[in-house]
Amino acid sequence: MSGKKVNILKSIPPATKNAFINYGIVIIAFAVISVLRSLGLLSISLEGQLVPICCYIVMAISLNLTVGILGELSLGHAGFMSVGAFTGIIVSGLMSQTVQSGALRLFIAIIIGGVAAGIVGILVGIPVLRLNGDYLAIVTLAFGEIIKNLINCLYIGYDSTGIHISMTSEAALGLGPDGKIIIDGAIGAVNIQKISTFTAGFLLVLGCLIVIQNLVNSRNGRAIMALRDNQIAAESVGINIVKYKMMAFVTSAVMAGMAGCLFALNYSTVVAKKFDFNTSILVLVFVVLGGIGNIRGSMIAATVLYILPEMLRGIRDYRMLVYAVILILVMIVTNNPTIRNLLYEKIINPIRAFLPRKKGGAADGYEN
C-alpha cells in the first residue's frame, strides 16, 4: 500500500512538484503571518513591511522571468513599477468619489496599472528586444530613467469639469476651486488614500506565481528558455523570436506594474524618484542572490534581503555598509569554487561532523 503511494509521488514531474511547493510556501506563510497578526505578535515595523515585501516578491519573480527565463538583463524594471504605481494612483484617485469600497478600487487600480505597464512594456520591447546583451541592458536603463523623468514633470488633477493634465506646472492645470491634485510634478503623488492590504498582497503574489509557473512549464516557457539557451537554434526549429521575447518581457512588465500599484497605494505620498535605477538594481540583486531562473529563490531572497536592513537596525548607521559587505562576500563565495571549497573544508564540514547524520547519503553530497 505504501509502495503505491510512493509511485504516484514519483510520477509527478519535478517541475510540477516544485511549483506546488512554492504555492505551499506562500499559502503557509500567509496563514502563519495572519495568525501572528491577529494575535498582535508582530512588531509594528514588521507589520508595515508586509505589503512592500509582497510587492518586492512580485518584482523579483517578474524580473526573474526576464533575466532568468528569457536570459536578458533588464536594468529598468522599476520603470514598469512606476507606470503601474502612478496609473493606479490616478485611477484610484478618480474613482474615490464613485467607488466606496477600498478593496474594489484596489482591484481595479491594480488591473489597470498592470495593463498600463504592459502597454509601456510593448512600446519599450519593440526597440529593445532587437538588441543584444549589454546594449539591451543600457536601453532598458535609459527607458527607466526616461519614465522617471517624465513622471517627475507630470501634473494631474481633476475638478468638476474633468481631468486636467499638464507638463509645465501646477498652475497650468487650471483647476477649479473644487479641484484636487493627484500628481504634483516633482512633489509626486499626494493625498493618496491608502487601500493596499496584506491579503491583496498575498493574492497578488499567488496570482503572479501561478501565471509564471504555468507559463514556464509549458510550450511557451520552453520556447522562451530555448531563446535564452541558443537563439539561433531556436529560430532554426521555427520559434518566432520576437513573439516569445515580447511574451516574456511584457508579462514581466505587467506584473511589475501591478506590484508598483499595490506599493504606491500603501503610502500617502509617492515620488517618482522612489522607482529609479537604484530600485531596479535592488530587485536585480534579489534575483541574482536567489538564483537566476530560480523562482523560489527570488521569493526568499526578496523577503530576507528586504527585511535584513530592518533587522540590522541595531547597528543603525552601519547597516547599509554591512549589507554591502554581505552582498560582496556572498557573491564571492557562491561564484568562486576555490573559496567555496575552502569554506566547506574549514567551516561547514567540521560543523556537519558534529551534527547527527540522517540516514541516506544523497543529501550530504549536495552543495547549495
Binding site: L131, D134, I138, F143, N149, L150, I232, Y318, T338
Partner: protein, 318 residues
C-alpha cells in the same frame, strides 16, 4: 506619442522666451559648456570602456570611485591646505590605489564567473563606497573649491561670450588624456598587452603576457582617470555628496555604450556627444526633461546602430 505631444506644448511655451536670447553667441557658449561636460563624461567613460574591454565587466563602482576622488581632493585642499595641483595628485594616487585594491579583493575572485555575478559584486562595491563616504563625511553637501579658483573667466566678443577657466581646463585635460592614452595603447608594450588581453585573453596568456598585471594596470589607469574626472566635475559643479558620482557614472556608462563599448575613441565620441546633447537640451528644450531627452537620443541612435557609434559588430559563427 503622448510624450511628444506634451513636449511640444512645453517647447512652444519656452521658445517664445528663448527666441529673444537665441543668437550665435549663446549657442556657442552652450556648445562649449557641452564640450566641457562632455569631456568629463568622456574621461569617466574611458574608465568604463577600458575595464569592459579587458575584463568584460561593467564596473558599476566606477562612478563612486570618482566621488572618492572628489572627497580626497576636497580634504587635501580644505583640511590639509595643499595647493590644487598637489590635491589632484593625491586624489589620483588615492583612486588608483583604491581601484587596484577593489580589483584584487572583489573582482579577481570572480574572473571566471558569470558576468551577471560580477555586475552584482560591482554593485555591492558601489554601495560600500557610498556608505563609507556617508559615514565619514556625512550627507550634507560640501562646497568644492575649484581648481581654477583664482583665475577669472575669459571674456570674448565684448563680454557676450564668457568662458570659465574650469571649462577650458576640462577640455584641455580631455584632449591630453585621449592623446596620451591612444599613444599608450598603440606604442607601449603595456598598452599593446592591454589590447591583446582585451581581444583574446587566453591567446595573450599563451604569448607570455602577465594577464593579472595587465588587468590591474587597466583598473589603475581607469581609476586614476576617475580621480581627474572627479576633480574636474566638482570644479565645474561644486557640490560634493556621497551620491555625486552616481548619476554622472550612469550617464558616462551610457556614453561608453553609445560610442561602442570597448572602443577608446568611442568613449570620447560618446562622452562629448552626450555632454553636448544634455547641455543643449537643458538650454533650449527643458531643464527638467533634459535627462529624458538625452536618454531618448541614446535609444534612437542604438536602434539605428545597435553596436554603438564606433562599436564592432560581433560575428557569430553559425
Amino acid at each position: 506619442m503622448l510624450f511628444l505631444f506634451l513636449i511640444s506644448d512645453l517647447y512652444a511655451a519656452d521658445i517664445s522666451f528663448k527666441r529673444k536670447c537665441i543668437n550665435n553667441m549663446a549657442f556657442l557658449s552652450y556648445l562649449i559648456k557641452g564640450l566641457s561636460l562632455g569631456s568629463v563624461y568622456a574621461i569617466i567613460a574611458l574608465g568604463y570602456t577600458m575595464v569592459y574591454g579587458i575584463a568584460k565587466m561593467l564596473n558599476f563602482a566606477h562612478g563612486d570611485v570618482i566621488m572618492i576622488g572628489g572627497y580626497a581632493a576636497y580634504i587635501s585642499t580644505v583640511y590639509l591646505g595643499f595647493p590644487p595641483v598637489v590635491a589632484l595628485i593625491i586624489a589620483i594616487l588615492v583612486c588608483t590605489l583604491l581601484g587596484i585594491v577593489i580589483e584584487k579583493l572583489a573582482y579577481k575572485p570572480l574572473r571566471s564567473a558569470d558576468s551577471l555575478a560580477v555586475l552584482i559584486t560591482a554593485i555591492g562595491v558601489s554601495y560600500f563606497l557610498q556608505n563609507i563616504a556617508l559615514l565619514i563625511w556625512g550627507s550634507d553637501p560640501k562646497v568644492f573649491p575649484s581648481i581654477a579658483k583664482s583665475m577669472t573667466s575669459i571674456s570674448l566678443f565684448d563680454g557676450q561670450l564668457v568662458i570659465s577657466w574650469e571649462t577650458i581646463i576640462t577640455i584641455i585635460a580631455n584632449i591630453v588624456i585621449m592623446v596620451s592614452l591612444t599613444l599608450f595603447t598603440s606604442k607601449t608594450r603595456t598598452g599593446k598587452a592591454m589590447r591583446a588581453v582585451s581581444e583574446d585573453r587566453e591567446a595573450a596568456q599563451l604569448m607570455g603576457i602577465d594577464v593579472n598585471k595587465t588587468i590591474s594596470i587597466t583598473f589603475a589607469i581607469g581609476s586614476g582617470l576617475a580621480a581627474i574626472a572627479g576633480v574636474l566635475l566638482c570644479s565645474s559643479y561644486p557640490t560634493l555628496m556621497p551620491t555625486t558620482g552616481s548619476m554622472p557614472g550612469i550617464k558616462a556608462f551610457t556614453a561608453a555604450v553609445f560610442g561602442g563599448i570597448g572602443s577608446i575613441p568611442g568613449a570620447l565620441l560618446g562622452g562629448l556627444l552626450l555632454g553636448i546633447i544634455e547641455t543643449l537640451a537643458k538650454a533650449y528644450i527643458s531643464m527638467q526633461l533634459s535627462d529624458a531627452i538625452v536618454f531618448a537620443v541614446l535609444i534612437i541612435i542604438l536602434l539605428v546602430k545597435p553596436t554603438g557609434l564606433l562599436g564592432k559588430k560581433v560575428i557569430v559563427k553559425v
